[in-house]
Every structure is written in C-alpha cells, then in structure tokens.
C-alpha cells in the first residue's frame, strides 16, 4: 500500500457545520450580539485544541459480488461498498483525527457543570474531524484529477451495510496506531474525534 502522511492539516473552522450540529437554524434561532461574540470565542478556544493529522493509503482493489478485496489490506463484505467501488481500480483508505485534547475539554467542561461549553467543544471536535477527512479526500481528488482519474464519494464504516467491523481493516491498513488512534473492542476509534473512510479511484468518464 502506498501511504501518505499529513502531519498538520490546515483547516479553517467550519463554523456553519458547527452551528448546524448545534441545531442552529438561520433566521429562526436568535442570538444577541454578545452571545454571538461569546460563542465565537468559545469556538476559537475549541478549535485551538484540535490538532488535525491524517494518513491516506492506496492499493489495487477488486470487487466480486458483495465482496471487496483491497490488496495488502484484506476483504470487506458489503454490497453498498461493492457498488461504490465497482468501477474502481484502486481503493483509497483515509484516516484522520483531531487528537484527544478536545474530547477531554468537553468532558472536563461537562464535569464542571459547564454543559453549554461541553456541547460546543463536542460539536467543534466532530466537525473538525469531518473537515480533516474531507481535506484528505479533496487532496486525493486533486491529485488523481491530474492523472485523468476520479475519486468516488467516501464511505465510512457504519454507512449502509458497511459494518463497523471494517474499522479493524482500516485501522490496521492505515497504521492508525502510529497517529495515536486506537480501536476499542467495540470498534470505537479513540480519541473519539477520529474518522476513517474508503473511496474508490477510477477512470474519469
């Protein structure tokens, strides 16, 4: 597998998605100017706790029935993933984390009775992790586009019939332990704000 490391993913805080995750509705939710300023400051504080890093790996892929075989990584059974990758010659595995500090800050805030801070930290951590994996995906797309290839949408364990069991393969193939990401017995990535995904690389139509 060919791996590429991203030691510091340059991200801008995805404020709109953070607000969406916090159930903010433009035009309906009302915030006073000082509340907006406080929220912005809290989001900045939360973003400062995120250290987004990631890794991609690519390898030849073959699909047979509902079975996806990624060379050097193993096999995954999933009809929906197989459909996504049916035209792909290679699979791209993506993994990103924003580190543990943000989740710790959320827990600490909750323990100290600052629930409002906790939910903001939690939302920022989740959206920064999403942005990090989106960055890896876009990077790969740009790289492949130059070669006349395209990259499918990304698919994560838990989507459709892609079982969380696929986390084992992704975690191992990407070597996520080297990025400080472990996998629990219940297939949870730790630190909590970590994401994995699979995409296909195919000829552009």
């Amino acid at each position: 597998m060919r791996r590429r490391d991203f030691s510091a993913i340059p991200l801008t805080a995805p404020k709109e998605s953070i607000l969406r995750r916090l159930k903010f509705r433009q035009g309906t939710t009302r915030l006073a100017k000082d509340e907006t300023a406080d929220l912005d400051a809290l989001i900045r504080r939360a973003v400062a706790l995120c250290e987004p890093v990631g890794r991609t790996a690519t390898a030849p892929v073959s699909v047979e029935g509902g079975r996806v075989r990624i060379e050097g990584a193993g096999e995954i059974e999933s009809q929906s993933l197989a459909r996504l990758l049916e035209r792909s010659t290679e699979a791209a595995l993506l993994g990103a984390t924003v580190g543990g500090a943000i989740a710790e800050a959320a827990s600490e805030a909750a323990e100290k009775g600052r629930a409002a801070d906790a939910v903001v930290y939690d939302a920022v951590g989740s959206e920064m992790a999403e942005s990090a994996i989106a960055y890896l995906h876009e990077y790969l797309r740009g790289e492949m586009r130059r070669l006349g290839l395209s990259v499918t949408k990304r698919y994560s364990p838990g989507y459709g019939d892609l079982s969380l069991e696929a986390q084992r393969l992704l975690h191992r193939a990407l070597g996520l332990s080297e990025l400080g990401v472990t996998l629990s017995d219940t297939l949870m990535l730790l630190p909590e704000k970590s994401v994995t995904a699979i995409a296909g690389i195919e000829e552009r139509e």
């Binding site: 590429r4 030691s7 509705r25 400062a48 629930a115 409002a116 990077y139 740009g142 297939l187």
Partner: protein, 803 residues
Amino acid sequence: MKADALGAILEERIVLLDGAAGTELYARGMTPGVCPEMWAAENPTALSEVHRAYFDVGCDVVYTFTLGANRIKMRGHNLEADVGRLNERLARTTVDIAPAGRHVAGEIGSTGELVEPFGPLPFDEAVDVYKEQIRGLVAGGVHLLVIETMLDVQETRAALIACKETTDLPVLVSMTFSQGERTLTGTPPEAAAVILQSLGAAVVGCNCSTGPQAMRRIVERMKPVARVPLLAKPNAGLPRVVDGLTVFDMGPEEFGRETAALVDAGAAVVGGCCGTTPQHITALRERIAAETPHIPGPDGTLRLASARRVVSPDPTGPITVIGERINPTGKKKLQKALRERRLEVVRRIAADQTSAGADLLDVNVGMHGVDETALMVDVVKMLSSTTDAPLCLDSSSADTLAAALRVYPGRALVNSVSAERKKLENLLPIAARYGAAILVLPLTDDGIPKTAAERATVVERIFAKAKECGYTKADMAVDGLVLTISSDADAARQTLETVRWAAREFGVNALMGLSNVSFGLPQRKWLNGAFLAMGISEGMSMVIADPSDEVLTACRLAADALCGRDRDCMRYVHHFAGATEENTTPETAEATARPEEAARRAVIRGDREAVEELVRAALDAGTPPFALVSEHLIPAITEVGDKFERHEYFLPQLMLSAETMERAFAIVRPLLEEEDAPRAGTVVIATVKGDVHDIGKNIVALMLRNHGFDVVDLGKDVDARAIVDRAETEGADLIGLSALMTTTMTEMPKVIAEAQRRKLSARVIVGGAVVTEAYAKEIGADGYARDAVGAARLAVDLLAKKK
C-alpha cells in the same frame, strides 16, 4: 546561461517553452510501469529525437527529462543510488543537441512527500534531496533550472532554496493549481507568486492539471502581484484515462489559440504540458509571434504572505494591524505555556487576534530559560497550518530568525533591522536570503536618535545597505520608534514626524508600536488611542497593537474613516452596527418584576450569574419552595425546551438555561426535602458497556435534574448488570440508556432482560445517535427519545402513567 539571458529574449518576444516529453516517449516504445527517467537514459536516441523536435519547432527552452529523478521518487524503482549520475546523463543528452542560442532547463519535480509542517518530511531533508538532483543537472551542463508541477508551496520552497544554495543559475518555478484555484495544500496563486518571487525565482507561474482556459484565472490572479515574468504551461485539456491510457482531447489549433490567450492575461513564458506535442507548440508559436511580453517590475507595494493569504499594507486604505499578543513579556500564563510547549495556547491567542482584526501576527518567544530558536521554529510551524495571517518574526537573534525564516512557508516581515552594526551585518543578509520583508528601526549602536531628522538619516543608511542585498522600498516598513512622553514631552511629536517623513517623503510603509508612548501614565488606553489616530493622520499604514483592545479598535476605525481610508465608512459602520441597540429590555423589566418571575426569566435567558440571588429573593419574599419550582422554574425550563424544539434556541442556549436551572435547583432542593414535597422520581442513567460517548447522556441527565428528578449518573461504558444492580438499590423509577454505535446498542436489550428477570418496576428509556423508535420497540424498551428535551418529557409522561 546567465540570469539575464531570459531577459534578453523577453525584451523582444515571448519565451517559448517545450511541450510534453512523456507521451512522446511512449510513442517511441516506453511502456507503462517502467522508471521513465531510467528508460530515457537507456534510450538516448528516443529522448534526443523528442527534444530535437521541440528545438526544431522553435522552442527557446527545452526541459530535461528529469521530473521525477530525485532520491525519494527513485527509491520506488530501487534506483536512489544513481540519482546524481542519472540526472547528469539525462541533462547531457539534451544539452548536447541544443542549438546555439537555445537553452536547456534542468527539470525538478515533487518528491511525492509532504514537507513539514504539512507532512512528515523534514524541511532540510527535502532541501538535501533536491540538492543531490541539482548537482547532477548542473554537472550535465544545464543552462537554467525549472521547478515544476509542484503541489505544495513548502516543498517548492525547499526545492528553490536547494537551487539557490547550489548554483547561481536562474530558476523558473511553476506550481499546479486545482479546480478551486488553489494548490492541493491550499495556496492561492497570488500567495504562491509573492512567496516564490521573494525567495528568488526568476519566473513564476503554473503548469499541468488543467487546460489553457482554466489556467487563465490563475495567471490573472498572479499578474497584479508579480514582480517577475509569469509562466504558463497548460495541458492539452483535461486528461482522461481510457483503457489504462491517458488521453487529452485538445488539438494543436485549439491549444495554440487558447494558450496564446494566456499571453493577454499576463504570461510572458509559455509552452505545453501533458498531452502536447511539437504540433501543439508550433500552433502556439504562430499565435504568439507578434505578441509583446508583459514584463512586470517593482510596483512599490509591500506584500506579505502566509501559505494561504497575501496581505498588502496600503497607505490609502484601512491601517494594517499587526497583533502583538504572541509575546511572553509580562505574560506569566503564556510564559508557562511556552515553557511547557503547550502550543494550543499560542494557537488560541492567534485565533483571538485574527478574529479581532489582526492582519498579521507578531511572533516573539524570547524569554529566559528557553531555547528561543527551537521554540520559535515550533511555533512558526504550528501557526503555519493554523492561521491564514502572515507572520512578523520578532527576535533579536540572527540564528533564531534564520531558522524560523527557513521553515516558514510564506513571506514574513522581520522585526526588526536597525543600524546597529551586528544587525546590519548579520541579520540583513539572512532576511534577504529568505526573501523576507524588513521592519527598519532607526536605531544605531549609539542609541535612539532624538529627532525625526536624525532618524530619517539612519533609515536612509539602512536602506542603502538593504539595496545591496536586493531590497527595494517596497520590501520594507519603517518604525517611527515610540518613546515615552512621561520622560520626554517631545517624544510623541518626533515619532509622528518620523512617520510622516517615512510615509510622505521617503515613500515606504510606516508603523509604530504604540504602547511605549503612555508608559508610566494612568489610563494609558486614551493616550494610546489618540496617538494611533494621530499616526494614521500622518500616513501610518501599519500598527503593532492588541486588536482586542476596544478603545484602540474604536480609535483606529474612527481615524481611518476621518482620513478617508475607509471607503464609504463601511468598516466603521459595520463594526458599530447594533451598538446602540444593545438589549437593555430584560434588565429594565427585571428591575420591576417580582423575584420568582425574575428567576423564571433568568432560567429562560440562561443567566447563570443572576439566578441564585433571584431564587433566594423569591424564597425570602415568602414563595413556597414547591410553588417556586412547580409554578415558575419547571415551566421556565419547559418553555426553554419548547423554544429549542421550535429552533428559536440552539443547543448551547438550551444548556445555558439548564445550567441556570441546576443552580436554582441546588438552592431549592434541600427545602423541598424539608417541605416533604412530591418527588418527580429517581432515574439511573448510563452509557452502555463498550461505549465511551457520554455527552448526550450528560445532557439528558441535566435536563432530567432540571425537571426535578433525582438522577444517579453511572457514567459511560457501564456493564448491564451494574446498571440493574444500581437501579435495584436506588429503587429507581426509570432507567435511561444511551448508545452511539451499532456495536454497542446491542447492550440495551441485555439491560432490559436483566431488569425483567429481577422483576424491577423501573421503566427503561433509550436514546443515542443510532437508536430509533423502532429499535426501542423491538428490544422492549418503554420509551425512546430523540433528544434531551424529549427525554425529559418522556420521563415525566411515563411516571405520570405509572402513578
């Protein structure tokens, strides 16, 4: 080829570069999967044919076939030991067939690795990798160098620095931009141009990735900031892979026509990239034969850049703010954080400053007991990936500045260069080597000149020295040098006069670091604010200040507006919009409301600070505790829940109200027990075994407490038996279970089965991201809630039915 050889061609016409070589070699027998460079070296006749064809159609410059011939790329073919010889051999093949007056450019490309701070490859290792290749190319006799198809500005800097540290040959630098007009790592064309031309590129531009039409915008964005000629080398359209072969759809005529349009956009050096042939280049040559190249020159504008943004201080526009807060002097918390390398603190200060209006960030980490150079490098690397604002590197140590400038993927401002002998001798050449702009301090080994006239003389002396290093006035800013007025009444006047001279007569950007002026005086903010406004009226275009200082911000915006530097006063109006509409209604209403009503409003408003006093006042006024809770506080939190469901409130507001309610309840709860008031019930709540997500469960617990429930929160990752044990011990009315994953929600039926086995009367309610109402029914739960507000409502309903 001397540095001015390209210039000699450009005085007459557009420089014509070659087209693609790879596809031409495939047509001559090269096969996919081989190492292209090694194949070309082993088939020199084929390579010579391709390159001769380009010379034959009139190319001024042909690139060697060495794009991937660096140690890291060659490692993939187990050929890393041959890098020097391979580059020399390939260069020689092309040089040997170059007609007189034509030139061969040694081609350098990406290693495929990301360089620090964006990737794991150490910067100096990248420089070494490139140096090895460059030595081979130079030994092969190339006339110039070209760094092309680069995806990341930091790797490009490493390659350019390697060129400069190895040879005096001119270097053309060309990056590849994606659909969003940025490189893959996010650098826009104008930032790439500023960074690379400052670092010494003879030509900058773009190649590959797109066809000529899409490349036009890239050239147009580079043109206004370019001080060197621009290069454009597009593909013959977008590549497609058909049956394993890469194909391009654009024919020679269309390519020639569209690429010639790039000359109109500002390109002076053009050619073709992937998919182009000698026929494409011939068509291009015919189209540009009569064109006059656009040769940019110095335009007098200072430009600073991060990897993602260019900042140009403008003496006629709003003043540029350099945030001063990343400086440990007098800041104990920051000192401690820096000593402990807790860089998230710096990251937060940076974000706070840019959010408050800083355009640039001053970075000073000098303090006793730290390795300033190592710390500065770490901070600069961290900020490079977390802030868009260009950096102003602030140190008196030449070593520290050299190390920081080397790794900074942008064009920094060096703070500062004075006329002190050591600074002029050591610091100025370092700043020049890395293309940094300089902040000139009119200070000599004899101290600070007293008068503005003397300071002007010192500035001119520094500028004369700077010119020897290649600097122009557009590469510098002058500090007016602020001294304290409490010890010298004339100090401010001399500083302002220096600013006026620098801005209006000498013609450079002028700035001040404000705060010294008020040292030792009370209420310094007013002096600082007035001084800032006076500086702006004298033509000052930059200021080093704390952007979060409200007085300074107000004075800055007012002075910009008054001096005609804020068009239509838009920034002023925007900043103060709504300031006169501050919401005073609640406080006014509060003053007249009865305390229990005020407490109710405090809960709705989420006023944590006020609620305790209001609850005590309500109790003191004789409101019975149970009535206060049931008639005022619970209706308040219910109303908050309704607002949340109508999206008038979002989650943090719901939580603020819930926290406020919690504080109110903390006061009332003991009184309810004394009063023997009816109890809402007891809930045992937990995130199930194997699941560590607990934020949702915590929110539900808080909302349940808000509704008067006694909540026993067992935390996360809790075994089914432990949950049921505790529910049994507590005589719980409800068990609340949370799970966020499909792998852990299967614990929920285990809890239900265990509770049923023990014949507990507790009802079980479930929730969490992956849990649905259908699943809840399937496993026999008594209820499901989508969110915390729903959970509280469900709990109340279930227990009402139970009773």
